[in-house]
């Protein structure tokens, strides 16, 4: 699966969590722009993990602040 395809699939997953309909670009931040709290993060991460059959540990989550970093991380994880 290429990066564009991963991007598209995560984009469909984030919809129910993006309540204010914030426009998402690679630089969009989860804590700042999207105002995700820790519970939203957990549910969103669980949705991605189930979709791609991967684990994104909290240690890895700590390194992910923006949409672009998330897509890159998922690309890397599912390539394993």
């Amino acid at each position: 699966m290429d990066r564009a395809e991963v991007d598209e699939r995560i984009r469909s997953l984030i919809e129910p969590f993006n309540k204010k309909g914030v426009a998402i670009e690679d630089g969009t931040t989860f804590a700042g722009d999207l105002e995700f709290d820790s519970l939203t993060v957990m549910d969103f991460v669980a949705a991605i993990e189930d979709e791609f059959d991967i684990i994104i540990s909290m240690n890895q989550q700590a390194e992910i602040e923006t949409w672009g970093q998330l897509v890159d991380a998922v690309c890397k994880l599912q390539a394993r």
Binding site: D37, M42, D43, A46, E49, D53, I55, S57, M58, N59
Partner: protein, 418 residues
Amino acid sequence: MSEGIDQPDAPLQADQVPTAGDLFSKFDALIKQRTDLLASGVTDPFSLVMEKVLSPTRAICNGRDTILLGTYNYMGMTFDPDVIQAGKDALDNFGSGTTGSRVLNGTYVGHKACEDALKEFYAMDHAMVFSTGYQANLGIISTIAGKGDYIVLDIDSHASIWDGCALGNAEVVPFKHNDVEAMDKRLGRIPEGAGKLVVLEGVYSMLGDIAPLKEMIAVAKKHGAMVLVDEAHSMGFIGEHGRGVAEAQGVLDDVDFVIGTFSKSVGTVGGFCVSNHPKFEIMRLVCRPYVFTASLPPSVVATAATSIRKLMHGSNKRAHLWENSKRLHGGLTEFGFTLGTSESQSAIVAVIMPDLERGAAMWEALLHEGLYVNLARPPATPAGMTLLRCSLCAEHSADEVETILGMFERAGKAVGII
């Protein structure tokens, strides 16, 4: 006295805005929330002082005789005459403190006796006593799960479990509260060959709900994971011998590590881990929160050991505590309060408040009635809830529980929650 103490959280005036670099500016939002709450006129729920403690269930708070329904004194051991005598004797014979680590000069016969009592209580081979329950989780979790290992844990885990994860170097993977399938999926995705530790609690203290340990431990074992269960809120009460939820569900033999505390049913302070792992004793040398701190004072381990031995024979008290919990749960449900669980599952009954303001008002109304409960709010609570947590004691009489229900009814109506 400095003004800082008179007005600990006073909001910053415009001319007092700190220069860049004030490390405390990150707390500004919390300081403002607290200031706003106190400005509404309610008593500060987080600075209650008990002037006199009369028994496990009564104290004088703000000059008023108050029923205690917000302590973790589940089995009412704090004023047990045998427990108190054991503490006094140890003070006389061994002094006020050990002034040293367990692995240096801080292991007295009392510490060994306390560990022996725990081994007998749980019928397990090894027991290790820590200075607090917090340190037991901190120490065991951070030490056994190392770099490259995976810790799979419930998202509603206690702070001491999260801090144990943060102190160590393992990969940390949370799953939705009590969700067996979510846990199963995450365990199944862990790379082959990696060490796995599943961390669960018997009773989750915020809502007072229990874990489906039988199903969860079966799944953990299917994936070859080791299992640690924190039974802090169930020890002494749940299970035939008071060994906890794992005992009640018949799966204690499959638990690799039980973590517990002396600051709840046992009635003093301290923490422990019991295990049948053949190599468990090495923990005493490699577990930093065990090694690099002073051991418990002799009087504390003496009261703990005496209390633990008495809890072995506490089945009548356990039965009465269940009656209390069921009656309070049933009565509050009838009044129309929203509770954390649909039936009583532990000695904790959590009453869900509509918001922090009305929660604080209800807490204060109860205090004026002469009842102390625990006000819990985010971030300690799941899903941003404000809770009034009631924890029952085996020493609450049936009449006292009826009195408590009357207080809840009056306060709930006065505040407009029911």
